[in-house]
Amino acid sequence: MKSTLRLSGHRHPYLMAAVVFLVLCVVNAILQPSFLKFGVATSNVAAFLPMALVAIGQTYVVLASDIDLSAGAIVSVVNVVVVSIIEGMGGTGASIAAGLTLGIAVGLICGAVNGLCVAYLRFQPIVTTFATGIVFAGFALWVLPEAGRQVPPEFYLAYAGTVLGVPTVLWILLAAIAFAGVIARTRFYQALRATGGNIQAAYQTGVPVARVRLRAYLLSGLFAALAGLALVGETASGDPLIGGALTLASVTAVVLGGTALSGCIGGVAGSILGAFILGLINNVIFFAQLPFAWQGLIQGLIILAALAGGVVMARGRQET
C-alpha cells in the first residue's frame, strides 16, 4: 500500500529515467524488430552489464556526495589481474577460483585506497580519484602491457551460458539488484544518504561519516571488480585499457538515473536504468545506420535531451 504511494515522484527521482528507457525501448524495437526476443534482450543485458555494475558502485559514492573517477581503471586492473592469474596457474578450476577471489580483493583494495585518501586524509575526491585512477591504470599496464592472454573456454562459456535455464548474465544482474536492495534497507544506507545530504548534520547526529564514505568507496571498488570479471567473461582475455571509457560513462549513467551529484537523492535502480539508457542509445545509433561522422553528435544530443528531461521534471517537482 504505502510503497505504491511512494511512486508519486517525490521519492522517485528516476521516474524520468524510466520514461526515457521505455521510449528508447520502443524506438529500438521499431528499428530492430527482434529487440523483444528473449535471446536478444539477454544479449543486450550482457552488453550493458559491465557499465551497469560500475554505475551501481558509483551510485553509492555519489550518494555520499563524493565521486569515483578511478572506477574504470579499477575495472582494467581487475581484468588483467584475473586473466594473468588464471593463465599463470594453468587455467584449472582452482586457478579460476583464485582469479575470481583475488580479482575481487584487488577491487576492494583499490576502493580502500580511495576511501582512506578521501574520507580519512580529507583529500579532494575528484582530484584524488583522478590521480589514483592514473596509478591503477599504470598498474594494469605493468601487469599486462598489451592486450592478450586467455582464459579457458569454460570460463566464458559459463558466462555466456545459462544456470537453471536462466542466462548467467541475468543471474548476475538480479544478484546485483538483490544486493543493492539489501543495502538500501540498512542503517548504513541511511547514514550514507545523510552524509551526502548534510555532512555536518550527519556528524553531529553521531553518524561515523568517515567510515561511511570509506564503505561507499569499497562498494564502488567491489562493483568495479565485478564489472572487470564480467569483461573477462565477455572477452576471455585481458586488456589493460578495457575499463577506460567506463568511468565517465558510469557517472553519466548515475546522473541520467536521477541521482544528484550533490548527494543524498537517488538510488541504484536509476543508475541501472541510466546504464541501460546509454547502451540503448548506442543500439539505436547502430540500427539507425547513421554514418560515422554523425554518431557522436547524435549520441551526445540524445544524452543531453534525457538530462534535460530530468531537470525539467525536477523543476516541476519544486514548483508544486
Binding site: P33, L36, G39, E146, Y156, E234, A236, D239, I272, F276
Partner: protein, 342 residues
C-alpha cells in the same frame, strides 16, 4: 529496481515473436570495423560494399550492414552482438584484439553465423581469417631488397610498434629472409610506430650514424617518411622498400626511386566477403587448406610492386586521389579455385 525487473520480464513475454529467415540467394553480411583513423580502412569498407553489389551479376543478393566507429573492445563486441541479434548470415570483422573476441565469436557460431576476420588474425577456433600473411608480406619485400642489393650490403630496418602482433610477424619475416643471405648485414633495427614523421626522423638518424647504408627495409606509411629523408640527403644510391598509396607512387614515378613494395590490399575485406558468400552457398573448403598460428587462416596473394611492374601499376591508379591505396580483390572465381572443393 522493480523497473529493470519489469524490462527483463517484458522481453521474456515477447520472446516468442517471429524469426528471421533467408532465402538461399539472399544473404546479409555485417561488416565491423573498430577503428576509423585512416583512409585505408575507409577504402576497405567501400571495396567490400562494392564487392557485395557485384554479386547481383551472378543472381545473388548480398546485403551489407557496415559498422565503422572508433570503439574499444567492448564497443566492438557490442557491434558484433547487434549483428548476431539482427540475424545476419555472416560477420566480417577487422578486429581490435586478437584474443578478446573468442567468446562472442563462439556465440555467433552457435547461432549458425559465419565469422571471418580480416587484416588481423584472431585466436578464435570459431572464426576463420581471410587476408594476407603478415610474415609472407614482409618476406616478399625483404626478398626484393636482398635481390636488389645482389645479396650483399648493409641494411637497416624501421619497424612499427614494438610488441604489436602484426609487427612481430613482419620482423620475423624479414629476419628469416636476410638470414639466408650471408652478405647482408643488418646494422640496426628501430621502431617508428607506423608514423610517417617518426619514420623520417629515424631515417635521418640512421643515415647520420651509418653512412655506409645500402638498403632500408621499412613498412607502410613510414616508407614515405624514410624516402623523404633519403631524398633530402641525396642518397639515390640507397635501395629502400616503399608503400602503396597513390601519393607515394607519384613521387616514386617523378624521382625514379629504386624501390619495391609489398601490397597489403584494402580489398582484403572484399576478398573475405567473396569467400563468405561462397561458403554461405554451401561450398566446402578444400582439405588441409587452413594455415597460420591459429590454424584458421586462408591467406590471399600479396602483390609486389617493383621496377618490373611499376609503370603498369602506376598507369592504373595515377588519376585516383592521393590517399587511395593500390588494391587487389580475390574475385569469386579466384576464391573458388583457391579455397573451395569443386
Amino acid at each position: 529496481m522493480s523497473r529493470s525487473f519489469l524490462a527483463v520480464s517484458f522481453a521474456a513475454v515477447f520472446a516468442l515473436a517471429g524469426t528471421l529467415a533467408n532465402a538461399k540467394d539472399t544473404f546479409t553480411i555485417g561488416l565491423s570495423n573498430g577503428w576509423v583513423g585512416s583512409e585505408w580502412r575507409t577504402q576497405m569498407i567501400d571495396e567490400a560494399e562494392q564487392a557485395a553489389k557485384e554479386w547481383s551479376k551472378r543472381g545473388v543478393t548480398v546485403k551489407t550492414i557496415a559498422q565503422s566507429a572508433n570503439v574499444d573492445v567492448p564497443g566492438q563486441i557490442a557491434q558484433i552482438r547487434n549483428f548476431i541479434n539482427q540475424g545476419v548470415d555472416a560477420i566480417i570483422v577487422n578486429p581490435n584484439s586478437p584474443t578478446a573476441f573468442d567468446p562472442i565469436f563462439a556465440q555467433a557460431k552457435a547461432r549458425g553465423i559465419l565469422v571471418i576476420s580480416t587484416d588481423a588474425e584472431v585466436s578464435s577456433k570459431d572464426a576463420i581469417y581471410v587476408g594476407i600473411d603478415q610474415k609472407a608480406w614482409a618476406m616478399q619485400s625483404a626478398e626484393w631488397l636482398a635481390k636488389t642489393l645482389k645479396g650483399k650490403g648493409n641494411v637497416v630496418a624501421i619497424n612499427g610498434v614494438a610488441g604489436h602482433p602484426a609487427n612481430q610477424m613482419r620482423v620475423a619475416g624479414y629476419k628469416e629472409v636476410f638470414a639466408k643471405y650471408p652478405g647482408i648485414r643488418v646494422l640496426n633495427e628501430v621502431n617508428a610506430n607506423w608514423d610517417q614523421a617518426q619514420g623520417q626522423q629515424a631515417m635521418q638518424n640512421l643515415l647520420a650514424t651509418y653512412p655506409q647504408i645500402n638498403g632500408v627495409w621499412v613498412q607502410d606509411g613510414m616508407a614515405a617518411g624514410a624516402w623523404r629523408a633519403l631524398t633530402d640527403a641525396k642518397r639515390s644510391d640507397v635501395a629502400a622498400t616503399g608503400e602503396i598509396r597513390v601519393d607515394f607512387l607519384k613521387t616514386w614515378n617523378d624521382r625514379k626511386f629504386n624501390s619495391g613494395a609489398s601490397v597489403n590490399p584494402p580489398g582484403c575485406m572484399a576478398s573475405a566477403l567473396n569467400v563468405a558468400v561462397l561458403r554461405l552457398q554451401g561450398r566446402q573448403f578444400k582439405d588441409g587448406i587452413f594455415k597460420g598460428q591459429y590454424g584458421n587462416a586462408l591467406y590471399i596473394p600479396i602483390p609486389l610492386i617493383d621496377s618490373s611492374n611499376f609503370q603498369k601499376t602506376y598507369e592504373q591508379v595515377k588519376d585516383k586521389p592521393g590517399y587511395i591505396s593500390v588494391t587487389t580483390v580475390v574475385t569469386p572465381e579466384q576464391a573458388e579455385q583457391m579455397f573451395f572443393k569443386k
